[in-house]
Symmetry: C2
Subunit: 478 residues, 2 copies
């Protein structure tokens, strides 16, 4: 089946760029009835549809098996995803070589949010969606999270509601449509289509769906584990200025200038930022080779999980899921469970009144081109607890309290593949004494420059995109 | 060794965008002393350095061998490149499955052109460079064509002249710096860094190097096999408007508007073009698996070549090269020799006075993300000579004379890997009766939109980039 978003010949269009930015900014200023109402509504969704997740050993993982020759963990249909192995070799970080399990999911997923003006303000149709790995069971997700398997109905289940707006020509206008990467240490070259489509007519929300302004979404982003990763990445693609009004000279004003600023006020021009990123991609060799899961060195498979004896990295486990409002009411699946809580952090600094983010060239085996731009710090701090461990650059700065904490909220990775994967999201601001000179893998960029890079595929990693959305949630906040 | 292009903090910069476009346009208008002088200069370079290329069987290919287990054709150093196999499966074009040899070259090459103002006009330092596969032995190439192996001196040869401008910080200012793909049927995921650096001071050309304006380069692009593929792809990345002056209402005026036009005069907005391309990438499944060359099905290896018994596609051959002005004066290497002359063609049409190109979503096993935007027609016409063969869309239109031929020149693929690989480059214009509605894999785009896509990596294939450069050569021509 060919899936494509409609492009109509000569659609009725005004001046999409500036106009859209204004409309998004207006939506961001509308905070609505406050986050408590929405959290209550999500709780009601959760109660209406009880949902049980139980860990099971692999031999009770219905439909899944370890392939005879490769030992890969696969579904009997050959669909959905599989857990394979990868051998990695790189000269990054002084050089390293390792094997690991990795999730292979070569489908073409759509993460789609439907948008619509209600009383002149853009609203976004969000779903209270249960996923087996979710902290809190239900999180706010895009209107549609559909894999190829979903829309080809491999589930033998129903088709996801509203999918037609993203697959049938002429139903809606495109606002965002770009392929983006996912977690480069856990997925092999996985990509999702991040889409926002705007519709004109009335669209009635089904049960478990709600129309929200950006301002309402941002208020929820200041709470832990409410807005899911899929929603955060799609929102990061919106061409949205941050609102710095009412805060002249303050942090939010600097943030507002950072999203709206032209290159004139950026430390580096966009051409220079692009050249630096190209240079980082060309600087490192990264060789990855698909290998049978059976031959991954240094990992152990027991009846109940695949893990690394050091207790680090992640585990592959199996779960049995019973739900009442999914297309399929009972299923089993593997999940990847990270060992320890992750940390992603932006170190930010005002440079001549414009907020700049200290971005980092991040190398992961699952990336399609060696490097993507990542947060200043991205690691599992627990792995560096032992004395004498070489700690990632700026980790101590972020955790030490030596910088002003602007954002510090726990957010989840996607619960359809990851089990209780919680990542602490932080934004910390350093002052004018902090050096502008950076190590070679770091660069100061404005949010406008980050946004421009997000407009192309595979330039900004999912953790940095998630943080970009969280940064937006800071504007206008009390 | 880490190779990166310098980014200096707060370099002295004006308004790079518009200003650069003006400076490039000025350079394009300067036709200099005419192409004959330059062709004579190239002939002198050729004569100064005789260069012999002889086909040899694989067992006389010094330094190269077929690896014992895989049968891959490899260099004893493990460097340069290798010929491996790939199994391909796709649902594109009704579905297909095949095996083929493919070149694997996982290095980080630089294709770099040095630029400089001379008497207020931008000039580009071009090299008369010999490559073993070149038609005419010597072609005009970028200032630097350096592989990682080159700059790590795997050759045991000298370092390429001017390389320091592209690898040492602070030597020059970046004008272009973007990773681009190469031939997706012949290379596995190969990419080159396409770079243009501008230098301020005096730079004296070595023997075999010459400073040229864009206008001089364009004049040479109207001759066959003079400007090599590496130069054509780098030139395609320049943010350059085409000059439509002096031709009001004519083809060149429409072309000028196509490169300078904002979205307002484009049939589709850039957002819609991007969404269409994203949709094409998501529409097709493409699975490629690296396999030993030994196990490629349907191909035959003899003492002298690897070929397909049908006589189609390409051959892998070996050559012995003796030169006197290369870093290494004698070497052997494999080359890929295509069977039959290729054809790449843009079908163009004026839409409300603005030239639009009919671009095509092109699927190849070597692409990093399934689809890149390609020429309207890209094929080897000889493969479709037999009656009853299903011919590619628009092939007959291009060859039949049913459209006005604006450009029809033979150009070469890169002679360092490809043996006498000649591709006919055509631009044909259809009239206003030609339908604007297109098959799903085609889209009408302006040159400005193509340029914007070229600004991101891996969006526009090398054949389309080469044609974009040829189209520019049409402006202002007699």
């Amino acid at each position: 089946m060919s899936v494509h978003v409609a492009v109509s010949l000569r659609p009725d269009r005004g001046s999409p760029g500036a106009d859209l930015a204004d409309r998004l900014a207006l939506s961001a200023r509308r905070r609505g009835g406050g986050p408590d109402l929405l959290v209550e509504w999500m709780a009601a969704c959760r109660e209406r549809s009880p949902f049980e997740v139980a860990r099971v050993p692999f031999d009770r993982l219905d439909g899944w098996r370890f392939a005879r020759r490769s030992g890969d963990l696969v579904h009997r249909s050959g669909r959905f995803f599989s857990v394979q192995g990868v051998d990695v070799q790189t000269d990054y970080g002084g050089g390293a070589e390792w094997s690991q399990p990795i999730i292979d999911q070569p489908d073409r997923s759509i993460l789609g949010i439907l948008a619509r003006e209600i009383d002149g303000v853009l609203h976004f149709l969000m779903q209270a969606k249960m996923e087996p790995g979710n902290v809190g069971t239900v999180q706010l997700s895009p209107t549609v999270q559909a894999t190829t398997s979903n829309y080809q109905r491999a589930h033998n289940g129903g088709v996801a509601p509203y999918l037609e707006y993203f697959t049938e020509p002429g139903r809606a206008r495109v606002m965002v449509d770009v392929l983006q990467s996912e977690q480069g240490s856990w997925f092999r070259g996985k990509r999702n289509r991040n889409v926002v489509m705007e519709v004109d007519g009335d669209v009635v929300p089904h049960e478990d769906f709600v129309w929200m302004t950006l301002g309402e979404l941002y208020a929820l982003l200041r709470r832990p584990n409410v807005v899911n990763m899929d929603a955060r990445t799609v929102l990061s693609c919106l061409p949205l200025p941050a609102d710095g009004a009412g805060d002249a000279g303050g942090f939010c004003a600097a943030l507002g200038r950072s999203t709206s600023t032209s290159d004139d006020r950026a430390l580096w021009s966009s051409l220079e930022v692009g050249s630096w990123l190209t240079g980082r991609k060309a600087a490192y060799a990264l060789t990855t080779r698909q290998v049978p899961l059976r031959s991954v060195r240094g990992w152990t498979r027991t009846a109940g999980e695949i893990h690394h004896p050091s207790g680090r990295f992640f585990r592959i486990i199996g779960v049995d899921v019973r739900a009442t409002n999914r297309e399929v009411r009972h299923w089993c699946q593997p999940l990847l469970e990270p060992c320890g809580q992750g940390l992603v952090a932006f170190v930010v600094r005002r440079i001549e009144g414009v907020l700049h983010v200290l971005a980092r060239a991040d190398v992961r085996p699952g990336y399609r081109d060696v490097v993507e731009l990542g947060p200043t710090v991205q690691c599992t701090p627990g792995n560096f607890a032992a004395a004498g461990e070489r700690r990632p650059a700026f980790l101590d700065l972020v955790l030490s309290g030596g910088a002003a904490v602007r954002y510090d909220v726990l957010q989840s990775e996607e619960g359809g593949r990851f089990h209780r994967a919680v990542t602490r999201h932080m934004v910390v601001e350093v002052d004018g004494d902090f050096p502008l000179e950076t190590p070679g893998d770091f660069a100061w960029v404005t949010l406008a420059q980050l946004k421009r890079l997000i407009g192309s595929s595979y330039q900004v990693n999912i953790e940095a995109r998630s943080l970009v959305t969280c940064v937006h949630a800071l504007t206008g906040a009390a």
